[in-house]
């Protein structure tokens, strides 16, 4: 276990370095750069723009900029936003809660419903429910999220007036109920796709297990159908889902770009898009590293959890 952890950690570190080099290079060779937003400002002369570039250290050779950035990162200094001078971790921290709230809720909804649909689809294969679930999943997967979002806003906010058209809460009203009210529409819209994916995987995983010999044995022993399902089928079917969950974990924190834009949700996805637009390199790099770390961590956790719950797998 220890050897496994060590080798995985060193692999992860190497991956992080590669990701950071690629990210840094791509950002820097992108034409434009942080000063281009002032290109149309009547009062900013070329000299002003050059001066600002110099002050931000953008006139140094790329590899020096990278090493400087990387060395600070190793020391725990993630840099400061070009836009407002706030430390990058503070910027990320300010947007983390919004994303966590939205993604956490929708993932919880999606996992619960997806699991149920998947199992029921598998146990009642080729039933009307199974067909409907299959078609529904295909529809949910093929229609873009922003369309669902806009249709949702049109019906529930503009036509019916039941739900707010966006925002995380009403300014001036920070009550839990108010947050929940605002959370309903975006989290349901986001869950749609996740439910579709999750239920398809769950159905396949359950079908795999259901035809296994040990399930037949369990039935032959005279166990009730319910007991067979809960104890022998579902438990085993969930195993492959752990890997899927590990891969989904990072998205809970890195956010949903489209949904956050449609619902004016002040989360990480919006932050990434905005920072990219302003060529705010320190924040973009910070977000990139943050999500890279989460992806690696998510996979690592999934591997460990599988090894713990499934005695057939040995980590070496």
């Amino acid at each position: 276990m220890r050897a496994f952890l060590l080798s995985r950690l060193s692999q992860s570190l190497a991956l992080l370095v590669i990701v950071s080099i690629i990210g840094f290079t791509i950002l820097s060779i992108m034409p434009g750069g942080p000063s281009s937003q002032y290109g149309l400002d009547p009062g900013m002369s070329q000299a002003d723009i050059e001066r600002i570039k110099e002050q931000l250290g953008l006139n140094r050779p790329l590899w020096i900029q990278y090493l400087d950035w990387a060395w600070r990162l190793v020391q725990g200094d993630w840099g400061r936003s070009f836009r407002d001078g706030t430390p990058v971790l503070t910027v990320i921290g300010r947007h983390l809660f919004a994303t966590l709230l939205l993604m956490g809720t929708s993932t919880a909804i999606a996992t619960a419903i997806g699991t149920w649909i998947g199992i029921r689809g598998a146990t009642h294969r080729y039933s009307l429910f199974d067909y409907l679930a299959t078609v529904g999943a295909m529809v949910a997967l093929s229609i873009p999220t922003f369309w669902f979002g806009l249709v949702g806003i049109y019906f529930f906010s503009l036509r019916l007036g039941w739900l707010p058209a966006g925002n995380m809460y009403t300014i001036g009203d920070g009550s839990v109920l108010n947050y929940l009210h605002h959370l309903i529409l975006p989290s349901i819209v986001l869950s749609l796709v996740h439910v579709a994916v999750w239920s398809r995987y769950m159905r396949t995983a359950t079908l795999d297990v259901i035809s296994q010999d040990f399930v037949k044995t369990a039935r032959a022993k005279g166990l009730s159908e319910r007991r067979v399902l809960m104890k022998h089928v579902v438990g085993n079917a969930l195993l492959p889902m752990i890997t899927l969950a590990g891969m989904q974990l990072p998205t809970i924190l890195t956010g949903a770009l489209v949904t956050e834009t449609v619902f004016t949700w002040p989360g990480m996805g919006r932050l990434f898009l905005d920072s990219l637009g302003y060529s705010d390199y320190p924040v973009v790099m910070g977000l990139l590293m943050f999500s890279a770390i989460l992806v690696l961590l998510g996979n690592l956790i999934a591997d460990i959890v599988i090894a713990v719950v499934d005695p057939r797998i040995r980590l070496a």
Binding site: L40, G43, Q46, T264, P266, D274, G277
Partner: protein, 502 residues
Amino acid sequence: MSQEPTVFNPLMPHIEVDDAVHFSVFDALVRMDPQGVLQPNLAAEVPSQKNGGISEDGLQWRVRLRDNVRWHDGIPFTAEDVKFTLELITNPKFRAWRTAGHSLVHDIQVVSPTEITWRMKEAFAPYLSFLAETFIVPKHILEKEADPNTAAFNQAPIGTGAFKWSKRIAGDHLELIANPSYAGEGPYVERLIFKYIPDMTVLYTQFKSGAVDLVDQSYITADHYEEARKLPGKQVSLEHSPSIESIYLNLGRPQFKDPAVRQALYAAIDRKAVIDTVYYGVVTSTETFMPQSSFYYNPNLPAQQFNLNRAREILDKAGWKSGADGIRAKDGVRLSFTNSTTSGNNLREQTQQFLQQTFAEIGVEMKISNLPAAVMWGEFWLKSQFDTAMVGVTYLIAADPDATNRLATSAIAAQGGRGSNTGQYSNPEVDSLLQQGARTFDQQERRKIYNRVQEIVRNDLPFLPLFQARNVIGRKEKLTGFTVNTNTRTASWNAAGLRWAS
């Protein structure tokens, strides 16, 4: 607002939406009113040669300040704060926004808490207008900071303005509260909330549903104007923006050196169709770079006529002959060029197609090659690497008529100049008029000079004016005290005057 205000130190590089916050939290020495006339703000009177605030040679300045002004933390505002502000801008360690004009100031003397003097290295009349966009920051807070670029003040500013900083929820909104001891008029509303709504359609929807009281930057889109006008309980109006949309010609390219080509292209633009069909009649046609709300606007310039036959005649006469491919050429130069603008801007892309068609009819080939904003307005634009660009340009700095930065030969960055003359326009007469204008303090004198500049530029056609932009500004009917000021960059320039009608 469709962009998020993030820069709250008004002296650091920022964009238009940040101005809305600066105007509410801070004061400048003077303020530009909607008629383009300077009014005192922190200054007791606007310095001029008449009242002795500015010496005859324009080199010695004296500003008297208002008494009894206090910072939001209760400390009195004095001439020391003005001195500190002007010195901070030129501090090489400080990441300052605009330095034009400020770099001429030296020998700043605090005569008394309410009087300050300085000397200028050369007479520079536009500096008075620049002061209207130079917000004064508190010395007692910033002098303690080791690095003014990262001061805590930059995220929780303290000013003398009508509103005090309250809090900011990043990515969502920021909140200001009324300053009851404000030295000027107002404020009449308790709280000011600047809400960030990135999507323009969502912004409009929230205005429609009543969640937004006033739509600021980037306002309501032209295609929603007709519908917005009819919304009950809402006041929606068209207001001039200082931005002039034009086809910028890169005069460094051989195709555009011949004035006949520029005249022919101008005559081949069906401007009415562009304005009425593409822009829903929301914008207005113009012949000059000077905004129509400016005191210096010249209304007597010849109007452009869309006339393809005349365009062809001009080119024939100048010796541009059609080649085998139908494209005109002269001395080996083909009348073919690329037009670029921000990609994804629907209205501009439609306009480009209009132009492409009518230009083709006079034997001119226009290719369209659009780029993402960050690329388009980076070096490609600043260093004159384009053939032609479709662009909305604001020529004036702080509403001062001095357009040196855009029109003077010395401002061509592609030729080593220090400015934004990206079209590489160069006319010695304009250069000398601009120099004269920058040294002249009398408004009437200046009007004559800049009217002449506009005449010459209209004749030279270094860029082909399409229209002056207008913004569709929407607000709730009950929100009164609202005035538009095209001489600022924000609809929230005077939040102190806003009030709710009962």
